[in-house]
Amino acid sequence: MEVLFALAIGVLAGSGVWLLLRPRTFQVIVGLGLLSYAVNLFIFGMGRLTIGRAPIVVAEQGIDAALHADPVPQALVLTAIVIGFATTALLLVVLLAARGLTGTDHVDGRESR
């Protein structure tokens, strides 16, 4: 599973970087979306992969840290997901405004020669 998880991060990040370097604004937005998936998965992976051990403690079982996944990366990623949406919206609006003002959807506001 670790191999698959790592490869998924690689594929998402690679596709994201490729799109990030493209000239059209929509490509950059999609690229940032893919890159943020990769980064979120990477941070989440810091807690290692555990199956069926959600960080929800039950008093009857007694509190044993070994029974649960690491909650810290999860808490970090949760807010990152929401903030990621907000910044995507901001970027989209900025790019739309730029397109309205410059008449092109090139990232530099004008077509390259």
Binding site: L7, L19, A54
Partner: protein, 964 residues
């Protein structure tokens, strides 16, 4: 306490002055005068303490670890300067009240003048060297603002820029020097530095430190080779020139040299550098003053020369010379300020300061003429005036300063020569302006100014006379106070009497008078060749050097910017990506990357299938994003679903829920944006055809693959290692007993790390408001204004344009979904609240609940259309955001009521009728705040974007675009 008041009062006054109406000349003047007089009185009232040899001290601890405290310290020397600054301030304020014309905006003037006074008092009273530098820079800044007071004039702007560049650059050197000095002495505290003289002088850093400190002091005091900014600063209003550029600010440099004299002086290096700069300024300033056309120009160069004299005295390594230097600082302030005021009066009453048309003004303005003549005589060093006394002391010192015959004879000779120049330019100034035949064509008819405008200069001239005639009884005790504060027990014996007998200095004075008078006569009869330029000016022209240096600096900077940066985004992103990769790769290359030893998790075929789909979606999105945006968007959603699924698979239910909900709103968001992007067709794309483009694509592909592979390898190496025991254990063990929640992730978000979450929802709110604000000004490109084809056809079929708000359902193809969506809203609301409430103990929480609710809202818009929805239900997302932030912040502040720190969670079991015992906690209120912010922010952004469909382009703009 009174020390704090002395520094604080002018700043407070400055603040008040800034807010008075722009024509409140009298109110401003009274305010400024009040501040200056209050400072003077506070200073005078401290006299008994200081005279008894005491030091008034006040320390407000600040960064004690870094040796930085707010430390005000007044000894005799500081007292003397405080008195000088505040008293001069009061006189200049009176003068300025009558000098400024009714058209000048007074608040700006008095505000900065008071700010300057406060900063200058701060320099004088600083007991900490770093603090001194801060006030030092503040004086540079207020000087800049005051020189540029008439900013519509080119010379004012240019002069202000030059003064700021020079003094601020010097201030920067000073800061470096002071930090070195503080390190050498072991403290920035002035007293401890003063006590560490021997250590400092023997230290190997001494030369570098001295060089830096002198750069600061000499630029501030306009000493050669940095003197050229001072004449250009004369574009300032004359009260400013009188106050800042002759009496006080330019004295800051020599003040600092005198202040640190016990620490720094006594070495050959000090002698060479300080004496050299002083001597050069003394001569060059005096010679240049003789050739100026502008009255203020003469005075500016003579200021350079007199400050050179003071610097020279300080550099002589002699205690008697120090006494003379302090004495001359005071004398120069009195007579030079008087002369500036007189020049200002002449300018004010005749309309010009040019020496050539001016002549014979003594008839029209006898009092001004008398005042100016006496002050000029003091400047020239005529007996029975204060300038004479310090000049005699100076002459006497020059005989003993140097070693070797060259210095022993040369120094007195140069001093006498400079004295002769001084006599000549004083004579020229007075004779040309006030005597001779009456002037012909002047812009205004000259007459005496109002009495109040004359009062300050009259008082100063009286001081010149009193000090000149009764030195021992007037200035004697004050001077002794200042000198003893610097030298302590080592103060030498000196005598302040007018007549020392027929001594060598007196002979030098006589020679200087004779030389000066003959110089002037020679120049007078050789013709009025006042070119405004001194001979030998070209090789010593600091201003040209300054201009050339500035232009060169600009050019180099431009070239570097062009070399190192790009306006294009792609190279920038490419650099960022590559640098980030390199930074990540360096430790891996250095240490190697190996597989960890932890046992692998068994592979599940179902996950492999989903993994495959997810990766295919990611690559597909990358390929399709250019020409098939909708497909790319769907594929992006597929990758997002894979991510959510992965979270769910690996024990992160909260993340999975949030990711799915965010996926939905992101999809809607990008869909709304798609309409405003231009069509792009795969055939006929110029980006693909050229060879450069193909190479670039190949390069980017390699970069993307390498980064992806690197990240995958890094992730794999990390995942196969056993986890390091971190803070996870703490959260898991304390969530239930201390946080009262079973869901540890939620407890971390709303309780343990509540402050982070508060910050995050604030960011989300700000972004939402920014999106809203940006879209208010949004102008779409004209070609995307037309309705999309599907909508056009639907409109044609159902007369959608005849919008009927009363209809129970929106018309169109989506009638059945509209019914379902309306039924969905209350149920979605219920689910959202359920997720919110159970969040503390089970997967859910404010973030997910808010996103679900926002999705339900936005679905109404998508199916029913914005107009139809808003006709029925006013949605005010901005209120929700505000309410949410208030709730979250209020939940944090509840803790204050209980006397606990911000955001401490409070809880109580409450028994409600019908429901029974309920655990009410402040964290629930906090989570409700998160919930409201997420609903509000998400729907605010999406609705604002949806509203763009109602836009029409501005007419002229649309026409421009169509034509262009």
């Amino acid at each position: 306490m009174s020390l704090v008041l002395i520094v604080l009062l002018p700043f407070l006054g400055s603040l008040c002055a800034a807010f008075l109406p722009s024509n409140a000349r009298n109110a401003e003047a009274w305010l400024a005068l009040g501040c200056a007089l209050a400072c003077t009185l506070l200073t005078v009232q401290l006299y008994p303490t200081i005279a008894a040899g005491g030091v008034v001290d006040i320390v407000l601890p600040w960064l004690a670890q870094a040796g930085l405290d707010f430390h005000l310290r007044m000894d005799g020397f500081a007292w003397l300067f405080t008195l000088l600054v505040s008293l001069m301030g009061a006189l200049v304020v009176i003068y300025a009240r009558y000098y400024l014309s009714p058209a000048d905006p007074v608040p700006r003037f008095f505000s900065f003048l008071l700010a300057f006074m406060g900063s200058m008092l701060g320099i004088v009273l600083s007991g900490n060297l770093i603090q001194l530098v801060v006030f030092w820079e503040l004086t540079s800044f207020s000087s800049f603002m005051l020189i540029a007071y008439w900013y519509h004039r080119v010379d004012a702007r240019h002069g202000a820029r030059m003064a700021l560049t020079m003094t601020a650059a010097g201030g920067f050197c000073l800061l470096a020097g002071v930090i070195m000095l503080g390190t050498m002495a072991g403290s920035y505290d002035l007293e401890r530095v003063l006590a560490a003289g021997d250590i400092v002088r023997a230290h190997p850093w001494y030369p570098a430190m001295l060089g830096l400190l002198l750069l600061g002091a000499l630029t501030k005091s306009a000493q050669f080779p940095f003197h050229f900014w001072l004449p250009h600063a004369m574009a300032a209003p004359t009260p400013v020139s009188a106050y800042l550029h002759s009496a006080t600010m330019v004295k800051a440099g020599v003040f600092l040299l005198a202040r640190l004299w016990p620490v720094l002086a006594g070495t050959d290096l000090w002698f060479a550098l300080v004496c050299g700069a002083g001597l050069a300024s003394l001569l060059i300033g005096a010679a240049a003053a003789l050739f100026q056309r502008d009255m203020k120009g003469v005075l500016a160069y003579s200021t350079v020369s007199h400050l050179g004299l003071i610097t020279l005295l300080l550099g002589m390594n002699s205690r008697l010379a120090l006494v003379a230097a302090v004495f001359h600082m005071l004398n120069h302030a009195t007579f030079k300020a008087t002369l500036f005021m007189a020049a200002g009066i002449v300018d004010h009453e005749t309309g010009t300061r040019d020496l050539r048309p001016l002549s014979g003004l003594a008839r029209a303005m006898p009092i001004t003429a008398t005042v100016a003549t006496v002050a000029a005589a003091a400047m020239a060093g005529v007996p029975l005036l204060n300038g004479f006394l310090s000049k005699e002391m100076f002459f006497a010192e020059t005989m003993f300063a140097g070693e070797g015959p060259l210095l022993r004879l040369g120094l007195p000779a140069i001093a006498t020569l400079a004295g002769a120049f001084s006599v000549a330019y004083s004579l020229r100034l007075i004779h040309q302006v006030f005597f001779g035949p009456p002037a012909g064509h002047l812009p205004r008819t000259p007459h005496e100014p109002t009495r109040w405008m004359l009062l300050p200069s009259l008082l100063l001239v009286a001081a010149c006379l009193l000090v000149g005639i009764f030195p021992a009884r007037t200035i004697g005790p004050l001077l002794a106070l200042g000198v003893q504060a610097i030298l302590g027990v080592a103060t030498p014996a000196y005598s302040l009497v007018v007549w020392h007998g027929f001594t060598v200095p007196f002979v030098m004075s006589l020679l200087a008078f004779a030389g000066g008078i003959s110089l002037y006569l020679l120049r007078y009869f050789l013709g009025q060749r006042a070119t405004g330029q001194a001979p030998l000016r070209a090789p010593l022209d600091g201003r040209r050097a300054f201009d050339i240096a500035i232009v060169a600096l600009h050019r180099i900077a431009e070239r570097m910017v062009r070399f190192a940066s790009s306006r294009r985004l792609q190279p920038q992103l490419f650099t960022i990506v590559c640098v980030a990769f390199a930074v990540g790769a360096i430790p891996i290359v250095a240490r190697g990357l190996t597989r960890g030893a932890a046992p692998p998790t068994p592979v599940d075929p179902a996950y492999v299938l989903i993994w495959f789909v997810g990766c295919a979606c990611a690559i597909g999105a990358a390929v399709q994003a250019k020409f098939h945006r909708l497909a790319a968007l769907i594929l992006l959603g597929g990758a997002g679903l894979y991510t959510a699924f992965t979270f769910a698979w690996f024990s992160a239910p909260d993340l999975a829920l949030t990711q799915i909900a965010v996926e939905v709103v992101t999809l809607v968001l990008l869909l709304l944006g798609l309409r405003w992007l231009p069509r792009r067709v795969e055939i006929d794309d110029p980006d693909r055809r050229t060879r450069v483009a193909r190479i670039r694509r190949a390069r980017d592909l390699v970069v993307a693959v390498v980064i992806g592979a690197g990240l995958a390898a890094l992730s794999f190496a990390m995942l196969t290692r056993s986890p390091v025991p971190g803070i996870a254990r703490f959260f898991l063990e304390h969530a239930l007993p201390d946080g009262g929640g079973h869901n540890v992730v939620n407890v971390i978000l709303v309780d343990f790390r509540g402050f982070d979450t508060l910050g995050e929802i604030t960011v989300v709110s700000i972004v939402a408001v920014t999106v809203y604000a940006l879209l208010r000004r949004f102008r779409p490109a004209p070609e995307s204004m037309a309705l999309p084809r599907a909508q056009r056809e639907a409109a044609a079929a159902t007369e959608l344009r005849d919008f009927d708000p009363q209809a129970p359902l929106p018309r169109g193809d989506l009638m059945v979904p509209a019914v379902l969506v309306r039924l969905l809203l209350p149920m979605a609301g219920l689910v959202a609240v359920y997720l919110l409430l159970r969040g503390h103990d089970a997967p859910g929480g404010g973030f997910v609940g808010g996103l679900v609710m926002a999705t339900a809202l936005i679905t109404q818009y998508m199916v029913g259309g914005a107009m139809w929805v808003e006709w029925r239900m006013r949605v005010h997302p901005q209120y929700w955001v505000a309410l949410g932030l208030t709730a979250a912040g209020g939940a944090g502040m509840l803790a204050w009521v209980a006397g606990r720190p911000f955001l401490t969670s409070l809880g109580a079991d409450i028994t409600l009728p019908m429901i029974g015992s309920v655990h009410a906690a402040s964290v629930l209120l906090f989570d409700v705040g998160v919930y409201l912010v997420v609903i509000g922010a998400t729907s605010l952004m999406l609705i604002a974007l949806a509203h763009q469909s109602f836009r029409t382009p501005r007419e002229p703009f649309a026409r421009d675009r169509a034509e262009g």
